[in-house]
């Protein structure tokens, strides 16, 4: 994990990416008890490109130069496959911009705020994503007012209502 974070920080320092933040289950584990996951989801801002196509090739090349090994759609650092994802929509872009600065064993890094983790999970919409949102709600680790505002802004109110129903069901 440390090697992956050091490499990502190098990518920012070298201008290969503008910034990054950790999402997914690893990001959620910053706020919640550990939950099983196979990979680290890293969301990045790519530098402005003149070409029409989004390519992660420069990111992959730089990660390989920093000791990563390509493994299908991942770049592996030690035990950890790192999946590089882009700011594919406005919600993800906001989540990267507003991510929390923190550190992992002294290595600076950035993690999505709980409200963005939940909103992105609602947008992704798989059962495990809903389960994660329900966990955030049950553990009081998300500001429900702020999440509700995000849900309205990004058209996720129905999904949030469903998660809230699930959280109320679990509290019975």
């Amino acid at each position: 994990m440390q090697d992956a974070l050091k490499a990502l920080n190098c990518l920012v320092a070298d201008g290969v990416i503008q910034d990054y933040a950790i999402g997914g289950a690893i990001g959620a584990s910053f706020y919640l008890p550990a939950m099983q996951t196979e990979d680290i989801d890293v969301f990045v801002f790519l530098p402005r490109s003149s070409g029409p196509l989004v390519t992660l090739a420069p990111v992959y090349d730089a990660l390989i130069a920093l000791g990563g090994q390509v493994d299908r759609e991942y770049v592996r650092f030690g035990n950890w496959p790192v999946q590089i994802l882009t700011d594919a929509n406005a919600l993800i872009a906001e989540a990267i911009r507003e991510a929390a600065d923190t550190d992992y064993d002294g290595i600076p890094t950035r993690v999505f705020m709980p409200e963005h983790l939940c909103a992105i999970a609602l947008q992704t919409g798989r059962s495990k994503d809903y389960a994660r949102v329900i966990l955030f709600l049950e553990e009081n680790e998300v500001d429900l007012d702020a999440l509700s505002v995000l849900a309205v802004r990004f058209g996720l109110s129905e999904q949030l209502a469903r998660a809230l129903k699930g959280a109320q069901g679990g509290a019975k």
């Binding site: 584990s29 008890p33 550990a34 099983q36 996951t37 992992y104 553990e139």
Partner: protein, 68 residues
Amino acid sequence: MTEDALKIDEEKTAFNARAKASMRAYLKSRTWPEKIASIERMNEAGKLAREGMRKARARKGAPRDRSL
């Protein structure tokens, strides 16, 4: 279903709930690197379990019949 099967010991149930809540609070209070180490252990355990299951199935011969 027998009457015994429906019997609930409220005291023991409350004890179990307290124990679970206490463990949950402990797990949540751990540092991020400690949680990541825990996820690494889960993944390792998952790998071992899948490997064990694969070997067990190979010993039995045919793959599990999912048609039933």
